[in-house]
């Protein structure tokens, strides 16, 4: 069974959907000859030509504006914003236009636009190229927000996103793209993973970890360590789509374990996990044996220096320690 990388899974999803539907096309900066800053679209120009692999000037707001306008009139664009930090340049287009058009128009229009972007740190790219800004999008009704943590999910979720009639923010993680460690069997055919359906990445009895994107991988590492070193059996829940959010899967797990840690790479204060914690409290309060712990990025911009960056982003060590502390409280 072939194994492919996260990046290859994403590329394959786009290739297959472009073969299926001529309305699907890509637009973004340096996606043609260059193949995208991370190489995701390498080779696609050759197959699909430059009308459908559409290099743009550095104009993020117009990239999204054009995506919206073409989606509204029958195309199914996949817009690439090179780094998720630059989504902010197109924020009005995303928040005030893409997300709201359908509602403002009384349901009489649709905007089937996928915005792919690379989020997260760990690459030494510092404050303006490393952010995890998903919380800015999950709060906006009208958007869907997807953050795959592995190749299998990436392909199935991207296909669903392309088929979805709503604007979807699809946030990829730079550290997942090419790392062979995360290669996985991914079916060659087209398949979908429904948006709004989480996944148990590891079953366990003792404690629930809710994590997103790259932090799912890190959580799995910690889970293995905790199991072998401490005999603690963690369940790792990956919501996969942050909006709509599969609270059921989280709540079931919490009811089973009674203990939860929420792990995200984004800055702690005001992060997405606040929503998860709040809903757990609202829906499973009586099952909780202890407060819900959040482990997240430090409350600062992502620093450049390796030592600082490693301190800023939740590390295996920090997650492990946080969990042991929490378990100590029980």
């Amino acid at each position: 069974m072939r194994k492919i990388t996260y990046l290859e899974a994403i590329r394959e999803a786009m290739q297959q959907m472009m073969r299926e539907d001529e309305n699907v096309y890509l637009l973004g900066e340096d996606i043609a000859e260059y193949g995208g800053a991370f190489g995701v679209t390498v080779g696609m120009l050759e197959e699909f030509g430059k009308e459908r692999i559409r290099n743009t000037p550095i104009s993020e707001a117009a990239i999204i504006g054009v995506g919206i306008g073409s989606a509204l009139t029958g195309m199914r664009p996949i817009a690439e914003i090179m780094f998720s930090d630059f989504m902010t340049i197109a924020m009005d287009q995303i928040v005030n236009q893409a997300a709201k058009i359908r509602y403002m128009f009384g349901g009489k229009a649709k905007v089937p636009l996928v915005i792919r972007t690379a989020g997260g740190g760990g690459t030494g790219a510092a404050a303006q190229h490393s952010q995890s800004l998903e919380a800015l999008f999950t709060h906006i009704p009208g958007l869907k927000v997807v953050m795959p943590s592995c190749p299998y999910d990436a392909k199935g979720l991207l296909i669903s996103s392309i088929l979805d009639d709503n604007p979807v923010i699809f946030i990829e993680h730079k550290l997942l793209y090419k790392n062979k460690k995360y290669m996985q069997h991914v079916p060659e055919e087209i398949y979908r993973i429904p948006l709004g359906k989480g996944d148990i990445k590891r079953e366990g009895r003792d404690i629930t970890i809710v994590a997103t994107s790259f932090m799912v991988q890190r959580s799995l590492e910690v889970a293995d360590i905790l199991e072998s070193e401490e005999g603690i059996d963690c369940e790792v829940v990956d919501p996969r789509t942050l909006r709509p959010l599969d609270m059921d899967i989280i709540i079931s797990s919490v009811k089973k374990t009674g203990k939860v840690v929420c792990i995200e790479e984004a800055c702690y204060f005001g992060g997405f996990m606040g929503e998860v914690v709040s809903q757990i409290v609202e829906k499973a309060f009586d099952y909780l044996d202890a407060p819900v712990l959040r482990i997240a990025g430090r409350d600062c911009p992502v620093p450049y220096s390796l030592v600082l960056e490693e301190e800023m982003i939740p590390s295996v060590g920090r997650i492990k320690k946080g969990m042991l502390d929490l378990l100590g409280r029980f």
Partner: protein, 340 residues
């Protein structure tokens, strides 16, 4: 598409433009006048509703600018696209909107174009090619550009008119979008309605150039400034460029000089301009001017005109009646229509 061979040429700015208007049917010429009245009366009705406190919200009246919307949109085919602005009633009506559904929307009724969810600033009729008004200044410019990309990619021969005010010309999205349309030669007409002010900001203070259409040079596209109160000129110039767009010759930037008679929105003391200035522009009423053309050409008589106006007044009353009698949405509908 209309026949262009042997057509008289007129000179507008640096361009030789075909006088397509002279070849337009009487019926269509009359329809254009009617649309102008519809806009004028709709807006006057809207103003009354605002004054009488019947509207929860605000609106931006298009009175005085009718020639631009009607002249430009009548240069399009029915299935071409437009994007509109916060001051969008005029474009909407010219694009063939149902006055009943517009009025109902303005009153926040369930029967309105947007089921009461959008209101004055968001009326859209995507089916008919109206991609919507927009509450964000410049908000429609990227969208129009994207619609033009669809037209190009689907090779459907359609053209987009993107309406926006002088104020929007200083928004970043204008710059990015027009450049993109230029390098991709998209079939879109960027139509700037220069009504002399962006809210209280005079164009003279917001720009350091005389003619906003000169910005075309920055993108290497065609462009010119026209008399936006002269519907014949608007129609001819826009028709000319619509045809060029359909041929794949790329976008154009047209500045249409006009004036808004009313305050910017509900609450505007208009301290930034003089009564004299307003009066002077009211002398240049685009409707009166067009009427003189039609009277001159013998297309209408004063009596026809009176009848036409009565007819339109009646339509507006009907629309209002429809709107007033329509139900409000149910509170339970509030979370519907967020997602497809």
């Amino acid at each position: 598409m209309r026949e262009v061979i042997n057509m008289r040429k007129i000179k507008v700015s640096d361009y030789e433009i075909e006088d397509r208007f002279s070849g337009v049917s009487k019926a269509l010429k009359l329809e254009m006048l009617k649309k102008m009245y519809e806009i004028r009366y709709f807006e006057e009705q809207a103003e009354q509703l605002i004054i009488r406190g019947k509207i929860h919200g605000t609106c931006h009246l298009y009175v005085g600018e009718e020639a631009t919307a009607v002249g430009a949109i009548y240069a399009l085919n029915k299935d071409d696209y437009i994007t509109s602005t916060h001051r969008g009633h005029g474009h909407c009506i010219a694009k063939g909107a149902d006055l009943k559904l517009m009025m109902a929307e303005f009153l926040g009724k369930k029967t309105g174009y947007c089921k009461g969810k959008g209101g004055s600033m968001h009326i859209a009729d995507v089916e008919q090619g109206n991609l919507g008004a927009n509450g964000v200044v410049g908000g429609g410019i990227g969208i129009a550009t994207g619609a033009a990309l669809t037209c190009k990619m689907k090779k459907n021969g359609k053209v987009v008119i993107c309406f926006f005010g002088d104020g929007a010309v200083n928004q970043g999205i204008f710059h990015e979008s027009v450049n993109m349309a230029s390098i991709w030669r998209l079939p879109v007409i960027y139509l700037c309605e220069n009504n002399q002010y962006g809210m209280s900001m005079p164009v003279k203070e917001a720009f350091n150039i005389e003619r906003l259409s000169d910005r075309r040079i920055a993108y290497g596209i065609d462009g010119l400034t026209i008399d936006g109160n002269n519907i014949v000129e608007v129609f001819n110039v826009v028709s000319h460029f619509v045809e060029r767009c359909r041929k794949g010759l790329g976008p154009v930037l047209i500045e249409s000089l006009t004036y808004r008679w009313k305050g910017h929105s509900k609450s505007d003391a208009q301290v930034y301009r003089t009564r004299e200035e307003v009066k002077a522009w009211m002398q240049k009423d685009p409707i009166e001017r067009y009427k003189r053309v039609l009277l001159g050409e013998g297309i209408i008589t004063p009596d026809d005109d009176r009848k036409l106006r009565a007819e339109v007044e009646n339509e507006i009353s009907e629309a209002l009646k429809f709107a007033e009698e329509s139900p409000f949405p149910e509170p339970s509908e509030v979370e519907e229509d967020v997602y497809a």
